[in-house]
Amino acid sequence: MKGCTKTNILIENDISPEMLVLLRDGSHAAYEEIYLHYADSVHRFIEQLTRSGEAAREITQEIFVQLWERRAQVDPARSFKGYLFTIARNAAINFIEHQKVRGKYLEYSLHNNNESVGPSDEAMIASETALLVEIAVSRMPRQRKKIFLMNHEEGLNPGAIAERLHVSKHTVESHLATAKKEIKKMLE
């Protein structure tokens, strides 16, 4: 964004309040109009969220079934996208919970239920930090990732890593410095 001139064109892609009044009053035509114009982008978003095309297909349908069933709660004066988000969020959570019940996520759930009292705020922040570090590490080039993990998880010093990987100690140190910089940037 730096150095670019902003043109400030607002792209607000919400449906008209009139259409929402019709939907609230039970118009099939309004429902179908809204459905057709939002379903594709809703599907794309849910697919990004669940990493599954099949899940996206099911959840998208569920979202719009819910929209019809709760049409009386639509407030034409408020953001439609915001309302649809609430429905979508709950539909996605339900879906992932079901998947978990089906055993796909058993391992993780066991791990999670061990904490009888919910994790403390401190622990939460720690886990958020841990995720950020993992993201930064996952983005590192292979060699740097390897060196960083050898240093951090196996506790090897630069000299030992250099010996194992047949590279110079300087290379290892420079990779570790860059890795630290990348992580620090992620945590800023």
């Binding site: 670019c4 902003k6 400030n8 792209i11 114009h37 594709d40 988000f85 969020r89 959570i93 995720l131």
Partner: protein, 333 residues
């Protein structure tokens, strides 16, 4: 501890960073699974997570021209919610008597129509949908003689001659005709008379790109329009609404993905490589040597390779520039 919980969700930029990195879709599956559960099933900082998720939702979910998938989804949901009403829209507007007589015919027509929409990939008749998957591009000759090359994982629908809808990226070599050729891509409409241009409208992507190689096209968005000429590229950032026009090389009349591959690597212009690197690594690259933009490089940049690695390779290959990286800003000199 108490104080921290009282803070607004925005006080934890890390939450948003994780959500954005996750939605970008490039994380390893194992990490992505853990983030998905942290995001949806772990109620700590629920407000912060919802806020980050809703921000992305508002950016990506939008009113747009319905595609084949939306129609199919609606058909299925309609069968669930309003069984027996699927013909409603088709008979509306006819008189009762006419409707009664026409019903068997319409039923046949309706079935044929449904069958037709399922026939993905057929190119006969006046309407068709062509889809590409995986990594292969595909060439499509439209009835009017216009040549289209579809990039991988794209869909092109044409309802009538010289009016197409594009989901993804494609190069159009449009033949001159009496009617203007019109491409609808996401929220923009591109109208042309006879030219070669590339449209990039990747679903889920945050930008739209139209590159004109020959001739002139008119690009219309929401409340704006612009005539773009050969050698110009219009970039529309869908989240900010920001539009930019940049110069492109037109000696090669095709974008790099349309060029024949060379030993498994693709040939790209230096300028294109820089913009790819900038978007891939979320940095801004200032090129103080614009004359290098048209230099062709055979270059590949794999997942997990760093920006620095890429720049080093380019520097060695080109041997005519230096680079400096300072945080988010890269300078080519």
């Amino acid at each position: 501890m108490k104080n921290r919980q009282d803070k607004a969700p925005g006080d934890r930029p890390g939450t948003k960073k994780i959500v954005d990195a996750y939605l970008e879709g490039k994380l390893p599956e194992e990490l992505a699974t853990r983030i998905r559960e942290w995001l949806l099933l772990d109620d700590e900082n629920r407000a912060g997570k919802d806020a980050a998720l809703e921000e992305a939702w508002r950016r990506d979910v939008r009113y747009e021209k319905p595609g084949r998938r939306a129609r199919k989804s609606l058909e299925e949901t309609r069968a669930r919610l309003f069984p027996g009403e699927t013909m409603r829209r088709r008979t509306r507007g006819k008189t009762r008597v006419a409707a009664a007589i026409l019903l068997p015919l319409l039923a046949i027509g309706g079935a044929a129509w449904l069958l037709n929409t399922r026939h993905v990939g057929t190119e006969t008749g006046t309407s068709a949908i062509v889809e590409t998957s995986g990594d292969s591009t595909r060439q499509v000759l439209l009835p009017d003689g216009t040549n289209v090359i579809l990039n991988a994982r794209c869909a092109l629908a044409y309802d009538e001659a010289r009016a197409v809808t594009l989901d993804g990226e494609a190069l159009f070599e449009v033949v001159k005709g009496e009617k203007p050729f019109v491409v609808t891509a996401g929220e923009i409409v591109v109208t042309v008379l006879g030219t070669t241009f590339n449209v990039e409208a990747i679903p889920g992507s945050k930008r739209l790109k139209v590159t004109v190689y020959e001739g002139r096209v008119k690009i219309e968005g929401r409340e704006w329009s612009r005539v773009t000429r050969a050698g110009e590229e219009l970039l529309l950032d869908l989240s900010s609404g920001e539009r930019r026009v940049v110069a492109v090389d037109t000696t090669v009349k095709r974008p790099s993905w349309c060029l024949p591959p060379r030993a498994g690597l693709s040939t790209s212009r230096f300028g294109e490589i820089l913009s790819m690197l900038a978007s891939r690594h979320g940095v801004s690259i200032e090129n103080k040597r614009p004359e290098l933009n048209d230099d062709l490089y055979t270059f590949s940049h794999g997942e997990g390779e760093s920006l620095e690695d890429a720049l080093r390779v380019l520097q060695v290959a080109g041997d005519n520039f230096t680079y400096t990286i300072q945080g988010d800003a890269v300078t080519i000199e």
